[in-house]
């Protein structure tokens, strides 16, 4: 195994980082959070950069690179749901430039002549309130429906930039041709890995800000970053980050190469991202002291994104439970 970005991948990462520093600065995220500013221009930029075109699972590492950088920038667009939740479930239905989401549970499909009738309510649907299309997972397969067919309510969540919605379908009739892939398993692995990389990016942002703070904030006449307690916390955060990043890109690589370990690797990616988030959130917040507790400090957005990610699609503990059971089977 050669576990290193190639030069194209490094270029993609650097480009993404540069573009997002300009197009998705902290001020934009704050403007979205405080004033409901429209992230549409950023969404269009993402499309122009071709990132929405990273729909082939073989490009999962590249998609992951983009997602990590978007996580670091606390992306206010519906890119994560579109690229890692909808598209893998409905690769043929993806519409260039149109946001889309996935309804992963809560809907049942009933056979009705040539077609099907979908009903039910799903909560916690990422970007369900601003999607044009929904990929609806049911026991009978995955159906693609226009969002206009659903009743959608945004749920207030603690991450003020994140969109989460309750989606209801009431006797929505769909034709058999709207039915897509039967097994949502592989799509779920992409969703987990994508979310893990988003979290790694958000954690990196917390860490960047915490390190800046440690270098500049002075106490007892010296920068707080010179105290061994702070230095050692920073070292532990660094280790948690490189561990989580490695496992996340490994999952991306198994998806790209359709390796049989992809299921286990995706669970490890999500679990490690959750553990990293736990440590980085806690140490990072503590390191900022009271400053971290204010609305005015930008670290809040990354903290909330990382924590929200940890709670979605199964927590670290839930994934660890799965890892232990599947480890020997996967013969990693």
């Amino acid at each position: 195994m050669l576990f290193e970005f190639d030069s194209d991948q490094r270029l993609l990462r650097d480009t993404a980082r540069d573009v997002l520093a300009k197009e998705c600065p902290p001020a934009l995220v704050r403007d979205v959070a405080e004033n409901g500013a429209d992230p549409g221009p950023l969404w269009r930029t993402i499309g122009e950069l071709g990132w929405t075109g990273l729909t082939d699972p073989a490009e999962m590492v590249e998609l992951g690179i983009v997602l990590e950088e978007l996580g670091r920038a606390v992306d206010p667009t519906p890119f994560l749901a579109t690229s890692t939740q909808f598209t893998p479930l409905a690769p043929d239905a993806a519409l260039a430039g149109r946001p889309a989401a996935a309804v992963l549970a809560g809907i049942t499909a009933r056979r009705d002549g040539e077609g099907w009738v979908l009903s039910g309510t799903a909560s916690g649907v990422l970007d369900g309130d601003r999607a044009a299309l929904l990929a609806v997972v049911t026991d009978a397969g995955v159906f693609v429906v226009p969002a206009s067919a659903a009743a959608v309510t945004r749920t207030p969540v603690f991450d003020p930039v994140l969109h989460v919605a309750e989606v209801s379908l009431t006797e929505v009739r769909v034709s058999g041709s709207d039915r897509g892939v039967a097994d949502p398993g592989p799509a779920r692995e992409i969703a987990l890995t994508g979310l893990a990389l988003t979290m790694v990016g958000a954690c990196q942002r917390i860490f960047d800000l915490a390190l800046d703070h440690a270098r500049t904030r002075r106490q007892f006449g010296v920068p707080i970053g010179s105290f061994q307690a702070v230095r050692h916390k920073a070292a532990d955060m660094h280790v948690a980050l490189v561990r989580a990043r490695a496992l996340a890109y490994f999952a991306a690589l198994t998806i790209a190469e359709n390796d049989p370990r992809r299921r286990l690797a995706a669970a490890m990616a999500k679990a490690a991202a959750g553990e990293c988030q736990s440590l980085v959130f806690r140490h990072g917040f503590q390191l900022f002291g009271a400053m971290g507790f204010t609305w005015e400090n930008d670290v809040q957005f990354a903290l909330k994104r990382a924590k929200a990610g940890a709670l979605m699609l199964g927590t670290a503990a839930e994934h660890r439970s799965m890892i232990a059971e599947e480890f020997h089977a996967a013969h990693l």
Partner: protein, 391 residues
């Protein structure tokens, strides 16, 4: 060692329980919440006055100040009965515990009459002006200055983290009155009414919401304060800080014990892993209560041992943080919702139990940061309890 208190303390407890049974407002009367730590809703003002008049507000005080000269152990069981029911004696806790207490210890008769009693009777509310930008709560580097000018002091400077200032009637303000004296000498304490010209209060939001307003910046520009508002002697502010504020800190462990006990009620483990974590929480709660009662027994004998309290603060604050983080994780995607209820709202407590696990976890950092961070507590333990050399 004994599992129960002596009979006289238990009789005291029974009397207070009886008072609560007869006088606590009905929940339907107590619907209005406070919006900051210096905002008391009308029903709560009334309830505080009932406690004051009955001598149950601060039982350790003499009757004219809302108490009944209770012993330390009696005060402890009083607090336990409050916390068991999730009651706060006041919705302006720093008014009671710090400002009024400081005035009763260091104030003039007039100050007690004009400020302490109204605070205790919930006629006015108070805030504490201590921290300054860049200095944390390190009094030694205080920069707000007060210069004597005739019958007044003229105050200039800035405070931060002044909880409730925008709703408070008065701020107990630490100021430097002798700029040439070293570090913590030369500090004095002034009562500054918030309607004094030159006082500007800017509340700012927490990470939970821009509208979650308790913290304030307070700007003091040529604020004229009558010399009669000087609390304690000139340049003796350090003594005031170490008085009731120091006393408050020795009781800090109790607030963590209460939060831990609340968590053992509010957290419902549903898996083997969650049960494992719950057990740790339950043990922490019990251990903290035991260690606290040991410290209290020492204090009741008049044997103060402040450094040893650092272990209690560290254990309590870190445990609350760990437990709320676990609870947040255990709640999973349901915990995204904001606000979300994690426990029945207690209308009689100034803490909001209904604000969601993310909020309870975020608030836990106040515990590990304010009143000396966990890192500072560890340093105190290492140096002053264990006698390790300083770095």
């Amino acid at each position: 060692m004994q599992l129960t208190f002596d009979a006289d303390v238990e009789a005291f407890r029974a009397e207070f329980v009886d008072f609560l049974d007869k006088n606590l407002p009905r929940e339907s009367e107590a619907t209005q919440r406070s919006r900051s730590s210096a905002d008391i809703p009308p029903w709560a003002r009334h309830w505080q006055r009932v406690q004051f008049d009955a001598g149950w507000l601060l039982p350790g005080n003499p009757p004219e100040y809302g108490g009944r000269n209770a012993t330390l152990l009696e005060q402890y069981v009083h607090q336990m009965e409050l916390s068991r029911r999730r009651l706060s004696a006041s919705f302006n806790p720093q008014g009671l515990g710090i400002i009024a207490a400081s005035l009763l210890s260091f104030g003039t008769a007039a100050q007690k009459r004009d400020w302490a009693v109204p605070i205790l009777r919930a006629e006015i509310t108070a805030a504490l002006g201590m921290s300054e930008p860049g200095a944390g709560s390190d009094l030694a580097s205080l920069r707000t200055r007060a210069q004597r000018d005739g019958e007044d002091f003229v105050v200039n400077g800035q405070k931060i983290w002044t909880s409730g200032a925008h709703d408070a009637d008065v701020i107990l303000t630490f100021v430097r009155t002798d700029p040439d004296a070293p570090k913590h000498r030369g500090i004095s304490v002034l009562l500054i009414p918030t309607d004094t010209p030159g006082v500007t209060r800017r509340p700012f939001g927490t990470l939970l919401s821009p509208n979650d307003l308790d913290f304030n910046e307070v700007f003091l520009d040529d604020v004229r304060v009558p010399a009669a508002n000087l609390v304690g002697d000139l340049n003796q502010g350090w003594a005031v800080a170490n008085g009731s504020l120091g006393h408050e800190r020795t009781l800090l462990w109790m607030s963590f014990a209460e939060r831990l006990e609340d968590l053992t009620d509010d957290v419902q483990p549903t898996s083997a892993l969650e049960r494992d974590r719950f057990a740790t929480l339950a043990m922490d709660a019990q251990a903290l209560r035991l260690l606290g009662s040991e410290a209290l027994a020492r204090a009741a004998r008049g044997e103060a041992d402040t450094p040893s309290l650092s272990a209690l603060k560290l254990l309590g604050s870190e445990s609350v943080q760990t437990a709320t983080e676990w609870a947040l994780e255990a709640a999973g995607a349901d915990a995204l919702a904001h606000p979300a209820r994690t426990a029945p709202e207690s209308p009689f407590h100034h803490d909001s139990y209904g604000a969601g696990w993310f909020s309870r976890y975020a608030h836990s950092f106040a515990g590990t940061i304010a009143g000396g961070t966990s890192e500072i507590q560890r340093d105190i333990i290492a140096g002053r309890v264990l006698g390790l050399p300083r770095g």
